[in-house]
Amino acid sequence: MDVQRQKDAGAYSVKAALERMDLYAKGDPGWISTLKEHYAAVAVVEYGAALMEARFVRFSKAPGMRNMATFGMLDETRHAQMQLYFPHEYIAKDRQFDWAHEAMRTDNWGVVAARHFFDDMMMTRDVIATSILLNFAFETGYTNLQFIGLASDAAKAGDFTFSKLIQSIQSDEARHAQIGTPLVKMMIESGRKAEAQKLIDIAFW
C-alpha cells in the first residue's frame, strides 16, 4: 500500500508542478488529439476492468488469483480515477476533453467498436476465459508495450505529466497482468491447450 501511495504522490506532484507549462497552448496539436483519444478510449474502460477484477475475486477457484484480483481491483480503480482527474485540467480550455468521461456513452462508430470489444472481453465470459483474454493477451501482450511506447512519445512531445502518469499506471498493470499467465500453464497441463490458444487468438485479432 505504501508503494502505491508513493506512486500516486509521484504522479500527482509532477502534474501539479507542470500545470503552469500550458501544454495545451504550446504542445503539438497532433499530441493534443492523441491525448483526447487516449483518455476517451481508456478512462472508463479502466473502471470496467475494476468490475472484471471484482468478478475474479468472487468466482475464481484459485486463492492466489483471488488475492491478486483484489489488488487488481484497487489498481484499476486508481487508473480510472487518475485518467479522469488528469484530463479534467484541460476541460476549461477544450471541451473535447470531456470525452474522457463521455466517449463510452456515445454511439460514435469508433467507440462502438471499442465498447463492443471490451464488453465482450471483460464482462460477458467466465473468469478463466476473461483472465486469459484480458490479463494475458490484452494487458501483457498489448498494453505493456503500447503504454510504455506511449510514455516515450509523450516525453518527446514535452508532455511529462502524461509520461509520468502512463509509466505509473503501467507499473501496476505489469503486475496484475500476470494473473493470466499461470492459467495458461494450467490449461495446457490439463489438456486444454487448444482452448487457451483460441482465447488468445480471439483477444489478439
Binding site: 468466482f59 486463492p63 488475492n67 467466465d126 499467465t181 499461470p182 490449461m187 497441463e189 490439463s190
Partner: protein, 51 residues
C-alpha cells in the same frame, strides 16, 4: 510487536480454499461464472502468481 516479513505469511494468505460442507462446489463457484471446465479441482491450489 515485531512485524512479520511478507515471506513469513504470504503462503498462508494464499491458502484460503476449503471443502464446503453445506453446499456443493458448483453452488459456490457456478461453472458459467468460474469456468475452468476440464481443470481438475486439485490443480487450483497449484496456481502460482509469478510476482
Amino acid at each position: 510487536m515485531a512485524v512479520l516479513q511478507r515471506s513469513d505469511w504470504y503462503d498462508l494468505a494464499r491458502s484460503t480454499s476449503w471443502t464446503p460442507s453445506y453446499v456443493k462446489e458448483d453452488a459456490i463457484f457456478p461453472p458459467e461464472h468460474s469456468g475452468g471446465a476440464g481443470i481438475p479441482p486439485e490443480k487450483w491450489a497449484s496456481y502460482d502468481e509469478p510476482f
